[in-house]
Symmetry: C2
Subunit: 243 residues, 2 copies
DNA sequence: ACGATCTGCTGAGGCAGATCAGCATGTGCC
DNA sequence: GGCACATGCTGATCTGCCTCAGCAGATCGT
């Protein structure tokens, strides 16, 4: 894969039209390539001076633990996503990162990142944009947990995942492969696994969507969008804003 | 107030040690000073090409509306906070901004912002840091709504507000002035106003904290921190990370 | 070939928090 | 002064979701 074609470069190019030199600076940012097994945390809360990562393949989730023993999954990351930016900027990690599947990722050293920002300012802007896009997703997630009931929330979640995967060609309007268990869905949506199970069956019985055997199959996209009050405008726009 | 002493400059200086030249670039970023009345939205969802703002005085809240009529307040902003960064980067606003009190804010034009980033790269990094800090707060808020019950959530919320206000000298360990109504608290915490009222009374009866007459009075800080499982480390650290 | 473990699935019962309704105060406006 | 309207407060009732418990099928290590 040439530097221009990595999922990460593709994502940034959607906001900032990157020059050849900027693309190669981006490429040099990729440090050692590492592999991680599913289920074993890559980073956990409180660790200091951890590297960041650019995700090449596989899925991971970011979560926080509470003293009571519960956990809340804040977000899932898919190929092309940047992991642990906050851990680098704040020097200490404020959340855990767990691979959902087997994962390959390139390390990004804090010093390299800051150097690159000062030498290639447009890359800093591009990363700021990517971070803002992630924040928009977290905000949408927050709204869902705060004000949508379990069914709407689940529908919204499945639609959002589909929209994100589409950007990296891992989804079609008919569905997508999804390695998440119902337990993980529950931890992400602030529900119990039992209730997630019931909600998924309801959605299936309603003929809207099926979540089974590692696959999400969308039967009625319009119905799902209506139920979830889904607005995908926050995930895409046409062409770079900064030429 | 000299450029170095604006709340915004103070906040950024906590991460990036800013030179005189960078500080004056920051100062030039402040455009027209505008005033807004309480309750009248400054920005709403879907508007395009809105300016961003740097908040000089007063409180505002960012919220999203759902088709069902409910609303979720994502965050409150206090003096020194940057408003509408995402609206600028994405060109269209993905949320509403409503002044809670009478507000004064400086406009920031999108073109000025992007120019400043490319000419003064360290400011881009500083703003990236500020955005990440905001994201950390949204994440904490998400965890609260997803996994804390109403009482813990309320306690956590009041503590976080106190910690943020302390950074701009608007709070002490004993309490702070707070212009929020119980309805706003409810919209922020994903509860009904009725239930917020009951929870506030419980916290008062427990001798932990009083929320009344526009003031928050903390009676038992330790008890509150324990109840809320509050960790303020994500809000502060000692000295700039980038010299 | 065996238990151990994980994931999906379902029923019964309980509780946190929503909804609906009503009352009391305070404050800006005509 | 009187009205409209926002805000705080409380009781009664209803419900969405949790918890506990148990079963079935897959996958795994030995």
């Amino acid at each position: 894969m040439t530097p221009q074609q990595t999922p990460f470069a593709l994502k940034l190019s959607a906001f900032v039209a990157l020059s050849g030199e900027e693309l190669s600076a981006l490429d040099r940012l990729h440090g050692r390539r590492k592999k991680f097994a599913a289920g074993r945390d890559m980073v956990h809360q409180g660790q200091i001076n951890q590297p960041a990562y650019i995700l090449a393949s596989g899925w991971v989730c970011s979560y926080k633990l509470l003293s009571g023993g519960g956990r809340q999954i804040v977000d899932f990351q898919i190929p092309g996503d940047f992991l642990g930016l906050r851990s680098v900027l704040f020097r200490t990690a404020d959340h855990n990162i767990e691979p959902v599947t087997r994962v390959e990722a390139s390390e990004v050293l804090p010093s390299d990142l800051l150097d690159t920002f000062s030498r290639t300012p447009r890359l800093a802007t591009a990363v700021l944009w990517a971070a803002s896009r992630d924040e928009a997703m977290v905000v949408e997630h927050l709204v869902g947990i705060g004000r949508r009931d379990a069914k709407e929330r689940t529908a919204h979640f499945l639609l959002e995942l589909g929209a994100r995967l589409k950007l990296v060609q891992l989804s079609t309007p008919l569905g997508y492969a999804c390695p998440l268990s119902q337990y993980m869905l529950a931890d992400a949506m602030g529900l119990s696994a039992v209730h997630v199970n019931r909600v998924l069956r309801e959605l299936r019985d309603d003929g809207l969507v099926t979540f089974q055997h590692g696959k999400v199959t969308i039967h009625d996209l319009d119905g799902l969008v209506t139920l979830a009050d889904f607005d995908k405008s926050y995930l895409d726009h046409d062409g770079p804003l900064l030429k």
